[in-house]
């Protein structure tokens, strides 16, 4: 495969105004429309039912497949198990030859896109037509679908009209959508009527009776399964379910999540060969059983089924809702993902079906914001599976050189980092500083300050302030709190770290700072290098064991999540370190939730009335990683002189997402701009965050846009009012 220039492709898509307009409008409307379709339903209960059913199905996938096959054979259907795309193509061409097939109609099948099925017909002089309107247009354009449910969402009506003109050979005005629909109806009707063979995918396949289910709005699948004398089904193993009644568990979620409908116009179950009428070679109308062929597609699926992490991909029902809420997908669209499946789930499916090498090319495009995990009908932990795929890739190929060098030299070695920064701080940034921000960086670093200012390096890192601060520790402390600063809070937001200490001390806590602590390890774990991550974890665990604290506290949600959750998972095969990690992890707390708890205990959590407006941004790792979003709001509410006003999309990613914001500045800045606009619209004087990475991004955006709005960590806000 040719080497791709992902950044270039992204830049092109960001400049595609038609696509940008369509996607941003869709992203804005989708969440509300989806919720509306669920009115009166217990969404979480429905999701859990679907997850459990699919989870159970994959545990028995071989049995289900055997049952499905046996059911179909009993009913007179031919069943073929295809190892890969080539096997499917060979088999279908063989059926075509045996049955004198000249014309084929298809209803939408992602599995057929996955194996590029349509390519095989041309060389055998067989006419094939997609009949889903979007797929039909895309096929004419020679493009790939940019979305599983809305394949042509990236085109406007005029671009669609061009596709019509190309196919119909006459002028088609783009203004008149209903006219275009009728033209397609007329043209495709003849395709349906004349076709010898219909090919469909399947939304599910039922083991107990061999039925397949098709969910469509246009009704094309009903025609594809009704008019031609042959029906071919291409179905992946992941679509198999045990019983007819299990279909309900899919059907109650798929239309609601996919197209915000309670049900699509047509839900069709076809079981075995059904009757068909057609004119035979002599022109006589005959009624007979339709020939049905069912192809079970493997293409990596059966191997994935055996893996406890990857098998969760079987919970996917292809609703594409994970794309609809993905802050990256809704900016760059589906094509940059490079294969037919896009978005976070697309990265996973591509990794499983096309191999981890293909996956690696665009795995960067998942920033781990976890928004998708809140709506996925099958409750797939998409970012976690991507993490696992990254880690397997790194096991095979090693970590990306630059990331690893940076990490080892800088983040993992505090002494080195310290020196480097001091030098940069005193020399490098001086000419570019304006107040607390760097608005422009010279030469090759210029990209980093395009669209955002960067904070200046703290003149005195937090580690150098510890001795002075610890003198103010209470003589009879309630608890001994060991502070884990993380990189940002040590070297950039050292003042904020100082405020963390002040707030804790005001609550009667003794604060200690193990000086040997390193980076939490997230940057290297994030690229999939677990070996390096383990070394870092050991360093931190050992450093904190020495101080014997009651609580290990961090004011960075990403660090907290890594220390609290990831460390637990790193030592599965190492009992000694697993035990040490468990003891460590059990003490880890996030700043605002810990402080909120102590405020309540000491009677400080009381509502205070009115004051200057502040707004709060939910960091992804804070809200969806740690589940903390009420506590910071309660703390703001208890802070005198300020009043909380909520911003639109308060929990949408600000675009920093670790190093993503630097690496993909072109994607990060539009996300930031949206955030800045939403903050400005509240009229707040201050944007409060609880995450240093968000603080860097949002603070930089608010400064660059010269809004005059301040950005504060919740610790800053609390410390000011002590």
């Amino acid at each position: 495969m040719a080497e791709r220039n992902l950044k270039q492709e992204i830049q092109k898509k960001l400049k595609d105004d038609v696509m940008q307009g369509a996607l941003s409008k869709f992203a804005e409307q989708y969440p509300g429309s989806r919720l509306n379709a669920y009115k009166g339903q217990d969404i979480e209960e429905l999701r859990e039912e679907l997850r459990a059913m699919k989870h159970d199905a994959v545990q028995h996938i071989d049995q289900l497949a055997d049952d499905f096959e046996a059911s179909l054979r009993k009913r007179g259907t031919e069943v073929f198990r295809a190892k890969d795309g080539q096997a499917v193509k060979d088999y279908i061409i063989k059926i075509c030859k045996e049955n004198g097939v000249k014309r084929v109609v298809k209803s939408k099948s992602m599995a057929s896109e996955e194996i590029h099925l349509n390519e095989c017909f041309g060389e055998h002089d067989i006419r094939v037509k997609e009949t889903d309107l979007g797929e039909w247009m895309i096929a004419i354009a020679g493009e790939r679908p940019s979305h599983m449910v809305m394949p042509a969402i990236h085109m406007n009506r005029y671009q669609c009209a061009e596709m019509f003109e190309q196919e119909l050979h006459h002028e088609v005005p783009g203004e008149d959508i209903p006219n275009m629909i009728q033209l397609a109806r007329k043209n495709l009707r003849q395709e349906f009527l004349q076709a010898d063979m219909g090919i469909t995918g399947a939304n599910f396949g039922i083991a107990e009776n061999g039925a397949i289910g098709l969910v469509t709005n246009e009704g094309n699948a009903r025609l594809v399964t009704t008019l031609p004398r042959i029906h071919v089904v291409l179905i992946g193993y992941e679509k198999l379910i045990p019983k007819t009644e299990d279909a309900a568990k899919i059907l109650r979620l798929l239309p609601r999540n996919g197209t915000c409908q309670r049900m699509t116009s047509y839900m069709t179950m076809v079981d075995g060969p059904t009757r068909v009428m057609y004119k035979d070679a002599g022109g006589k109308v005959v009624e007979t059983d339709r020939k049905q062929y069912v192809i079970l597609l493997d293409n990596g699926r059966l191997e994935a089924a055996k893996d406890p992490v990857f098998q969760q991909a079987y919970q996917c029902v292809r609703c594409a809702s994970c794309l609809n809420v993905c802050p990256i997908w809704t900016l760059v669209g589906g094509h940059v993902y490079g294969h037919v499946y896009s978005g976070g789930i697309g990265a996973i499916l591509t990794g499983l079906f096309n191999g981890v090498d293909t996956f690696a090319q665009f795995s960067d495009l998942c920033i781990g914001c976890r928004k998708c995990t809140t709506i996925c009908p099958g409750k797939i932990p998409i970012p976690d599976i991507i993490d696992e795929l990254r880690s397997r890739y790194v096991q095979k190929h090693g970590a990306p050189g630059m990331d690893k060098t940076m990490f080892n030299m800088v983040l993992n070695d505090r002494g080195m980092f310290h020196k480097l920064l001091l030098k940069a701080g005193s020399i490098g940034q001086a000419p570019f500083k304006k107040g607390k921000f760097i608005r422009h960086l010279p030469l090759f670093m210029e990209e980093m300050t395009k669209g955002r200012s960067l904070p200046t390096i703290a003149s005195e890192p937090f580690r150098d302030r510890v001795e002075r601060l610890s003198r103010k520790n209470p003589s009879k402390p309630k608890k001994r709190v060991a502070y884990f600063s993380g990189c940002n809070m040590d070297f950039v937001f050292a003042d904020t770290s100082e405020n963390v200490v002040k707030v804790l001390q005001s609550l009667g806590m003794e604060v200690v700072y193990p000086i040997e602590q390193a980076c939490c390890g997230k940057p290297i774990l994030g690229v999939g290098d677990r070996e390096a991550g383990r070394e870092t974890a050991k360093k931190n665990i050992a450093a904190f064991e020495k101080v014997n604290a009651d609580v290990i506290l961090s004011a960075c949600p990403t660090c907290t999540e890594t220390l609290h959750e990831t460390y637990m998972k790193l030592f599965e095969n190492d009992p000694e370190w697993k035990a040490r990690a468990r003891a460590f992890c059990s003490k880890v707390r996030e700043f605002s939730s810990f402080v909120a708890e102590e405020y309540k205990k000491t009677g400080r959590m009381v509502h205070t009335k009115g004051g200057e407006k502040v707004t709060y941004h939910d960091s992804c790792h804070m809200k969806r990683g740690l589940g903390i979003y009420e506590e910071p709001r309660a703390l703001i509410d208890a802070t005198p002189g300020v009043e909380l006003v909520e911003m639109h999309n308060c929990d949408k990613c600000c675009g920093m997402a670790g190093s993503f914001g630097m690496k993909y500045q072109e994607v990060s800045i539009p996300m930031l701009n949206e955030k800045v606009d939403n903050i400005k619209a509240t009229g707040a004087a201050t944007a409060v965050v609880a995450c240093p990475a968000c603080m860097m991004q949002i603070g930089g955006g608010l400064d660059k846009a010269e809004t005059g709005i301040q950005t504060k960590h919740i610790a800053d806000l609390l410390a000011e009012k002590l």
Binding site: F26, I177, I181, A184, E218, R222, L223, T268, D271, R275
Partner: protein, 204 residues
């Protein structure tokens, strides 16, 4: 006409699964899916409603199924034929006129309240082309046969679905593939007109 189940009411409907009281929800949700609904007391009112609709849509040709299973419906088709309209009810006739007919009249087994769907038993080829190819699909259904949700509907289907073709029809054929603008009648009917008859059983 070949069917998945000869008698859904006695073979598939379990105790307490099908209730007239779910009607209101069904009506709201079916209308939200752009179906038009006419609730009538009996088949004589149903016939009058159907004639009204035929006046309104002035079809050149009609294809129709369901008469073999219900004498009242057969009676209505016979009268339409006597009135001079072209109505085809035999399967070979339906085959010949499947693409030229502008109205298809068919039947459904029960209604699903949660989604406003009709559950259709479409084992036969003629039932499928009748409900899918013409621009208008008129459907007779028993107004008392309503299930609460898709879960119950799938349970019912599961009891009798051994081979063939069943499904839900929820409003007319639609697409939003061009600029996400909703357009009806892309491949199937652009009108779904439901005549729900309260006294459906009386004439069986």
């Amino acid at each position: 006409m070949e069917k998945v189940c000869r008698d859904w009411a006695s073979q598939a409907f379990g105790k307490g699964m099908v209730k007239a009281e779910y009607w209101d929800d069904f009506e709201v949700n079916a209308k939200a899916a752009a179906a038009e609904i006419f609730r009538v007391k009996d088949f004589s009112e149903g016939e009058a409603k159907l004639n009204e609709l035929l006046q309104e849509y002035a079809p050149k040709e009609i294809i129709a199924v369901g008469g073999d299973e219900n004498s009242a419906i057969k009676n209505i088709y016979d009268k339409i034929a006597q009135s001079g309209r072209k109505i085809y009810t035999g399967k070979y006739d339906i085959y010949e006129h499947r693409d030229s007919a502008d109205i298809g009249i068919s039947t459904a087994e029960f209604c699903v309240a949660e989604t406003g769907s009709l559950c259709v038993d479409n084992y036969s080829y003629e039932a499928r082309v009748t409900s899918m190819l013409p621009f208008v699909n008129i459907v007779f259904v028993n107004a008392n046969y309503v299930v609460k949700d898709v879960t119950v509907a799938c349970k019912i289907i599961g009891k009798v679905f051994n081979k063939g073709y069943v499904g839900f029809v929820t409003g007319p054929s639609r697409t939003a593939d061009i600029e996400r603008v909703l357009s009806l009648g892309v491949h199937g009917p652009n009108k779904l007109l439901i005549i729900a008859v309260e006294d459906f059983e009386g004439v069986r």
